[in-house]
């Protein structure tokens, strides 16, 4: 375990504090950037309007204003609701996102927990959020919320599987489940003996990338898979009854998990924080600074894709979604695993 970070912090406790602060920053910073760049500005550009322009230059402080607004709002709990669960559910959803970020490396030493089964861990904890959503839907004592919660849970379970299967292809090719190991495998990799650009897996695992992105879209509940929210059918699904701070938590959870899955996709398929080893020495301490920036850039690419799709497409119906998962994505993912295995053994 390398203790030094940026050559400045040597003691275990210093590094621990740095990492703890880092994980909060890693949750809130991409989430805030996503909200501003994509939700406020990109979508406004797509819909030929300006978006927020008053708070700060080009509305850049709008997010803070929104947070202030939500904190001031009354936190309403419906009379018939199950108070404890209703209040706890948003924290469960947000906490899940924090847990996901724990395993993502942002640089050679910029990680929070270098787990051996990192990928597996991420898939496991991301499945907890379906629990929070289901509880939120049930405890609201609202039929729309209940339908939304049930839809969300069904959808999250159905898309867990293609996601896991898509990731298995990457794991087979990298030969490790550790995310740092996968980053290193991509940086050191070579394509038919050519190591100039390493081997980012979006070239060799493009099928897995496609399935992963579709599954991410469904896991996040973004259009075309936003049936749990479905504001035109279910009002806003499981968050119908939430207001004030707890609504804000769901909101943060949505965008922070978009950031988290973008980070995971960037790590698994685009080389994570690293550049190909042919370009630079990855052990350099500079990568503790450059790595997070590279990572953020790649996350923005993936996030842009996620939100572009969100604001362009209409919504599937629930049965169509399940059909897509079980009859299209899972078979393709299985074939991808088979092909990856054969090629891995052959070469």
């Amino acid at each position: 375990m390398s203790g030094m970070v940026l050559g400045l912090f040597e003691n275990y406790w210093q590094v621990s504090i740095l990492r703890s602060v880092g994980v909060l920053a890693a949750v809130l910073l991409p989430a805030g950037t996503f909200v501003y760049v994509f939700l406020f500005k990109m979508v406004s550009f797509m819909q030929s309007r300006l978006g927020p322009m008053e708070a700060g230059p080009f509305g850049s402080m709008q997010l803070l204003a929104e947070v202030g607004k939500f904190i001031q709002k009354e936190d309403i709990v419906p009379e018939q609701a199950d108070r404890k669960l209703f209040k706890a559910a948003p924290y469960l959803v947000v906490g899940t996102v924090l847990l996901v970020y724990l395993a993502v490396p942002f640089g050679p030493d910029m990680w929070f927990a270098n787990l051996e089964g990192g990928v597996f861990y991420i898939l496991a904890v991301s499945s907890i959020s379906s629990l929070g959503v289901l509880l939120a839907g049930w405890s609201s004592a609202n039929k729309y919320a209940l339908i939304g919660g049930l839809r969300a849970a069904g959808q999250l379970i159905a898309y867990e599987l293609p996601m896991v299967l898509a990731v298995v292809g990457v794991v087979i090719q990298a030969g490790t489940m550790n995310l740092s190991g996968i980053v290193a495998a991509q940086a050191n990799g070579e394509i038919f003996g050519f190591s100039g650009i390493g081997n980012p897996y979006f070239i060799t695992q493009f099928v897995a990338l496609g399935i992963f992105l579709i599954a991410v879209q469904a896991e996040l509940g973004q259009t075309p898979f936003d049936m749990p929210i479905a504001e035109s059918e279910l009002v806003t699904g499981y968050i119908t009854e939430y207001s004030g701070l707890r609504f804000l938590l769901f909101f943060i959870g949505e965008f922070a998990s978009a950031g988290a899955f973008a980070a995971v996709a960037a790590t698994l398929f685009m080389g994570g924080w690293a550049v190909p080893t042919a370009w630079a020495d990855l052990d350099s301490n500079w990568f503790n600074l450059i790595g997070p920036l590279l990572m953020l850039t790649k996350m923005m690419l993936i996030g842009g894709l996620i939100f572009f799709v969100r604001f362009t497409f209409p919504r599937f119906r629930e049965d169509q979604l399940q059909k897509l998962a079980w009859t299209v994505l899972i078979p393709i993912a299985l074939v991808n695993i088979l092909a990856t295995t054969i090629l891995k053994v052959a070469f």
Binding site: S232, F311, P314, R315, F316, E318
Partner: protein, 391 residues
């Protein structure tokens, strides 16, 4: 305040008991009752739809109307004829000018006068503009209900071109109150015709955009094709009209069949029909109708006759005794006014036939066995305006 009489108490008790029976019926039956509305995003206001569900499948559903009843038929009785138009263009608030026309035509019919040709042509232009303003919003709204948010903004953006033209001619964007017995309030301003033709070109671009963005989208097609199929005979039995009827394959258009006092038969256009009768057909027909409307307006602008815009009408309008029924093909379907006059300053009775009321009546028939998202799709594709249902 007088004391509550026994009779009132009894009425109250009876109402309570009736409510209880209804609730009991809903609670004890199989499945869950979902109350869509009166406040629900998919109901454009205050339509309430009681949906009985088994899982997400609809067992039965029942629209409950009247939450926004404003009593226009009664209100017209205490107003003079010129005052009525300001009231009735709030019925279908998106295509407001089109509401005024049939009433004015009915009054003209009773008075046996006819507007000069120029007024008729301008009326037709504004009528078709109301249609575009109304239906372009439908296009975005339908996409929004299926989950595509961006198309709605495009619809709002491009509808502005038409609203600006309506405002330029009438002074009002939403409630022009421009039609008069015997003609129009004013003539068109200078340069308006050229601006209109430019606006129509923009609307045609909008149609192209919607065809690629919404209509051509696979998810949109998967959500609408084969959903909410209304066969022609059912549509006729429920008294549906307008684009909903034409989407079921019935070639029926009052603009062509009864062109009362308006200039549709002066220009070249065709009635759009679609054989399928599903939600997609309704969307497609309406989108094509916007195109036809732009072509109608272009042709009318080119051939607009010169001349006065008002016929000879007395200063104080008294409509002679009699009864008249005039219906036109409004954006939402057939809209008709049955006006009974006793020779006073105002009408004695007015019966307003609006299209949405009948179009929504088919919901219980068509929504059986579909899923909750399909209910929203079907409601969006039937396209009602709450004011047009409840008046």
């Amino acid at each position: 305040m007088t004391a509550v009489t026994d009779r009132q108490k009894l009425a109250y008790a009876n109402a309570q008991a009736a409510d209880g029976r209804v609730n009991l019926e809903f609670e004890t039956d199989e499945g869950m009752t979902l109350n869509m509305g009166p406040q629900h995003p998919a109901t454009h206001g205050t339509l309430r739809i009681i949906v009985k569900l088994d899982g997400e499948q609809v067992i039965s559903c029942e629209p409950v109307m009247g939450y926004m009843h404003r009593g226009y038929e009664k209100l017209t009785e205490v107003r003079t004829y010129p005052q009525v138009t300001t009231l009735i263009n709030r019925i279908d608030w998106l295509g407001s000018f089109a509401n005024e026309v049939p009433f004015i035509l009915a009054a003209e019919k009773l008075m046996e006068i006819e507007a000069p040709p120029r007024a008729q042509w301008i009326r037709t232009i504004l009528f078709e503009m109301s249609r575009i303003a109304n239906i372009s919003l439908f296009v975005g709204d339908m996409a929004l209900h299926i989950g595509a948010m961006t198309a709605a903004f495009y619809a709002f953006r491009d509808r502005e071109f038409v609203l600006n033209q309506i405002e330029g001619a009438t002074g009002g964007r939403f409630h022009p109150n421009f039609d008069r017995i015997g003609g129009l309030k004013d003539d068109l301003p200078k340069g308006w015709l050229a601006d209109t033709k430019a606006a129509m070109a923009r609307i045609r671009d909008f149609c192209d955009e919607m065809e690629t963005l919404v209509e051509g989208n696979e998810i949109f097609q998967a959500r609408t094709r084969g959903i909410g199929v209304i066969p022609a005979d059912i549509a006729l039995q429920y008294g549906m009209s307008g684009a909903n009827l034409r989407a079921s394959g019935v070639d029926w258009d009052l603009r062509r069949d009864e062109p009362v006092g308006l200039a549709w038969n002066e220009v070249d256009w065709k009635v759009i029909t679609h054989p399928d009768g599903d939600s997609f057909a309704r969307f497609w027909v309406r989108l094509q109708e916007i195109r036809e409307a732009t072509s109608i307006i272009d042709q009318l602008c080119d051939g607009l006759p010169a001349g006065p815009i008002m016929a000879k009408v007395p200063r104080i309008i008294k409509v002679p005794e009699g009864e008249a029924w005039v219906a036109t093909e409004n954006p939402l379907g057939e809209m008709g006014y049955y006006v009974v006059s006793k020779g006073d300053l105002g009408p004695f009775r007015v019966k307003i036939r609006t299209a949405s009321f009948n179009n929504v009546a088919v919901v219980p028939w068509v929504c059986r066995g579909v899923y909750v998202p399909d209910v929203v799709t079907i409601l969006a594709s039937l396209y009602f305006i709450l004011g047009d249902i409840d008046r």
